[in-house]
């Protein structure tokens, strides 16, 4: 491994290449844009989290006594909208993906740097509309906007929020387009498809969904707005429309959107597992193809959200079996990651804790997903807390664990600094425990029959709800700790080396933080990804990563 910066004179890193607010707001450097996104999504994460705190507080007692029902309905609606559209969807692609994809493929930037910057502005413009509606009292339709409630009955800010989501959708389309073109056109010489890191494969699959799925969401939101304003009669039966049509359109996007959220996290996990097992990933091609399989099959299962709507039983049957098929590539990934650990050299550093946590939680999320896809079980647990628990295992247990694992892995690269070992491990374990305490009781509540979106509930379910709320407070603390030490690290953390973990990958061959153009000379790739063997020139580090 030869350091690429060997020209003698030190080139300033991307953080120091220019100064001042303007140099950030008008930057076209993918790394700086990644940081801009990181600031935005973090803000939305804590905003959405605040609403979750209020929801869990309300549910400590069976009576709806903390807030008014209308306030409660707005809380879970805004929690869902913010977390899904403004956090989970952009979280990994727009931050880690943005930062790493060009570097991982040996490019100086994304294919369209200005579109990349534009996407951040578009994202924030959408965010502003949503904030506007929150400040005015919010929306109460649920993040799913089911008709005819959203078109005819709700008297809250449906249009403003819808517009916010509509606009933000374009940032997702722009990002997806940018990634696809970049990955196709800008790979360094020698970097064939099957030498790409799996992180890149995962983002490639994600980008396909972003590009093909998001326009459907845009059309759907537009139709809701038209129906609401002019009663054009598409969704409202009072005007000859079909409310179930909305659900088809909505889930046609929103089911694949789940994979927009979780595929990038899977990409992160492949990087973490290989680095901290210091071993090539087991079944590289299977993991790569399974990402694409998930993206394609993911478009064919939307009807599993509609088993009780009275949709044709034949349709339900097909959607059920396809939903099970889409679980196969996910299972393949889990097995391959596990097999990668076999005879590895495994370190328990913080990012690895997140990766192992991810596998555990994602497995539970996936298995309960298979239960939900089973028609006979779904008629009972549909729209109950069982579903709530299931998708939080996928999205919080999956996506957020992946995101935090990724942040902790690439933090030294992004900021050039290290963070405290003890606190970061402490936080990872706190999050894992808090998460399970919050969401596991909800599976039981769901099978008992507690419907979701309930402001008040029968007394006998209180203990489980209190457990869940207690878990949520632990989880909340777990999320705050990294905020503190990462902020601290940006200023006071010890300087990180180019490759503190002894990882393989182009991003680890350049300095930390990278220079504005990433590579001073174009890299040439002559080996496969995860070449952790001596024959392939891998030299393990001789000292531990320096934490605090």
């Amino acid at each position: 491994m030869t350091p690429l910066v060997s020209t003698g004179k030190r080139i300033p890193d991307y953080l120091n290449a220019a100064y001042g607010l303007k140099s950030w707001l008008f930057t076209t450097d993918h790394k700086r844009i990644a940081l801009l996104y990181m600031a935005s999504v973090t803000m939305f994460f804590f905003l959405g989290g605040l609403m979750a705190v209020l929801i869990r507080l309300e549910l400590v007692t069976p009576q709806g006594d903390l807030v008014e029902p209308d306030v409660y309905n707005r809380l879970f609606t805004m929690h869902g909208i913010i977390m899904v559209f403004f956090f989970l969807i952009p979280a990994i692609p727009a931050t880690l993906g943005n930062f790493l994809i060009p570097i991982m493929i040996g490019a100086k930037d994304l294919a369209f740097p200005r579109i990349n910057l534009g996407s951040w502005y578009v994202y924030n413009a959408g965010g502003l509309f949503t904030m506007y509606s929150i400040l005015n009292g919010g929306v109460d339709t649920g993040w799913t906007f089911y008709t005819p409630f959203s078109t005819t009955f709700s008297n809250t800010y449906v249009l403003a929020t819808g517009l916010g989501i509509f606009i933000t959708g374009f940032s997702s389309i722009m990002t997806g387009l940018n990634f696809l073109v970049t990955i196709h056109r800008m790979r360094a010489p020698g970097l064939t498809w099957f030498r790409l890191p799996l992180f890149v494969w995962a983002h490639y699959a994600t980008s396909i969904i972003m590009l093909l799925g998001t326009p459907v969401l845009a059309i759907t939101v537009l139709l809701v707005a038209l129906e609401r304003s002019f009663h054009i009669g598409v969704f409202d039966p009072a005007y000859g429309g079909d409310p179930i049509l909305f659900q088809h359109l909505f889930w046609f996007y929103s089911h694949p959107a789940v994979y927009i959220m979780v595929l990038p996290a899977m990409g992160v996990i492949s990087e973490l597992i290989t680095c901290f097992a210091r071993k090539r990933v087991f079944g590289y091609r299977f993991i790569a193809y399974s990402s694409v399989a998930i993206a394609v099959l993911g478009f064919l299962v939307w009807g599993h959200h509609m088993f009780t709507t009275g949709q044709s039983i034949y349709a339900s049957t097909i959607f059920s079996v396809l939903s099970m098929l889409v679980a196969v590539p996910s299972a393949i990934k889990v097995f391959n990651w596990t097999a990668t650990l076999y005879r590895g050299s495994i370190s328990w550093d913080t990012p690895m804790l997140y990766a192992l946590g991810f596998i555990g939680l994602f497995t539970i999320g996936g298995l309960t997903g298979v239960m939900l896809a089973t028609l006979g079980i779904d008629i009972h647990v549909h729209d109950t807390y069982f579903v709530v628990a299931h998708f939080h295992y996928i999205m919080v247990g999956g996506t957020i664990m992946g995101y935090l694992g990724g942040i902790h892995f690439w933090w030294p690269k992004i900021t050039g600094r290290m963070y405290p070992a003890f606190w970061s491990k402490f936080a990872a374990i706190t999050i894992f425990i808090g998460f399970n305490l919050t969401f596991f009781p909800q599976f039981i509540l769901g099978y008992m029959g507690m419907p979701r979106r309930y402001h008040a509930y029968p007394d006998e379910w209180q203990v489980l709800n209190v457990m869940s709320s207690a878990g949520a407070s632990i989880l909340g603390v777990g999320y705050l700790i990294p905020m503190i030490y990462l902020a601290w690290s940006m200023r006071y953390g010890p300087r990180a080396e180019a490759n503190p973990w002894g990882a393989v990958g182009l991003e680890w061959e350049i300095q930390s933080p990278p220079t504005a153009h990433n590579f001073e000379t174009e890299p040439v790739v002559d080996k496969e990804a995860y070449a952790y063997t001596a024959e392939q020139g891998y030299v393990p580090p001789t000292k531990e990563a320096e934490f605090v």
């Binding site: 005819t152 192992l356 497995t363 089973t374």
Partner: protein, 322 residues
Amino acid sequence: MNFDIPLFPESASSLASQVDNIYFFALGVSVVFSVLIAGTIFFFASRYKRRRVDEMGTPEQTNMMLELTWSVIPLLIMLFMFAWGTKVYLESYRVPRDADQYYVVGKRWMWKFQHPEGNREINTFHVPKGRPIELIITSEDVIHSLFIPAFRMKRDAVPGRYNTAWFEATKTGTYDIFCAEYCGTEHSLMVGKVIVMEPYEYDDWLQGNKPEQSLASSGAELFEAKACHTCHRLDSNARAPILANIAGKPRLLQNGKTVDATDTYLRESIMNPKAKIVAGYQPIMPTFQGQLTEEQLLELISYIKNLGADQAQTPADPAAEG
């Protein structure tokens, strides 16, 4: 605060134990896989823990057999669950022939139940044990979902269409009814109780709360009050089709297509007659949109469905198929 932790809902319908059985199977499979994966991860992560900073992993060749094994085994287990789950699902849709028809209307924020004998209830639903009961469910406003956990039964109440579901209660008692589809402010108060009684008790209850007339006879009155009978006669289909014996049968439409005369079809024929014109007739029927409540519609439909049971002879119907 009640400190018992209930872990499992009561089972009080013929479907409940079937749903529970698949659930337990799926749960078993999930526990086995979770423990297997978590155990393996933990075992590997400890057994192969890095001892020296510069220790390296031992590379592994991709093993085709292994990959196939762990793809195919879960697939087979899932296909088995799929088949089993689908069987139960289809059963929950296949209404037994001898089931009595009850109507359910969801409305923000209450459940209205109508017994075939004409009894009406709000948020309380008396039913006999051991008799199959068909529910015909609709909504007056937004989408709701009728959920009775003890029966493992849930069906959406969708405005503008009728969804059917059925159950057979197996245990007397009082069980929760919830609205499972979010419907606005008092969604969580749109709850009720289903009271399962011994059949003789139920019959007493029906008698004790005897309404003036049955659902179908209220429908018959409406049929005259709304002047339906001026076109739809019992003896002549000159102006409009005779409605006897059409319910559930295939109907031939003007555009050559055939549709089954389901409840939803009958409803649409009244509310939006132009949508599907019966073959051989002029589109002269006016719409009754806005002139009938959901309950009145149900009465009319119940009347139409009861027509014909006693009419032995009906003149040739141009739209009857086959």
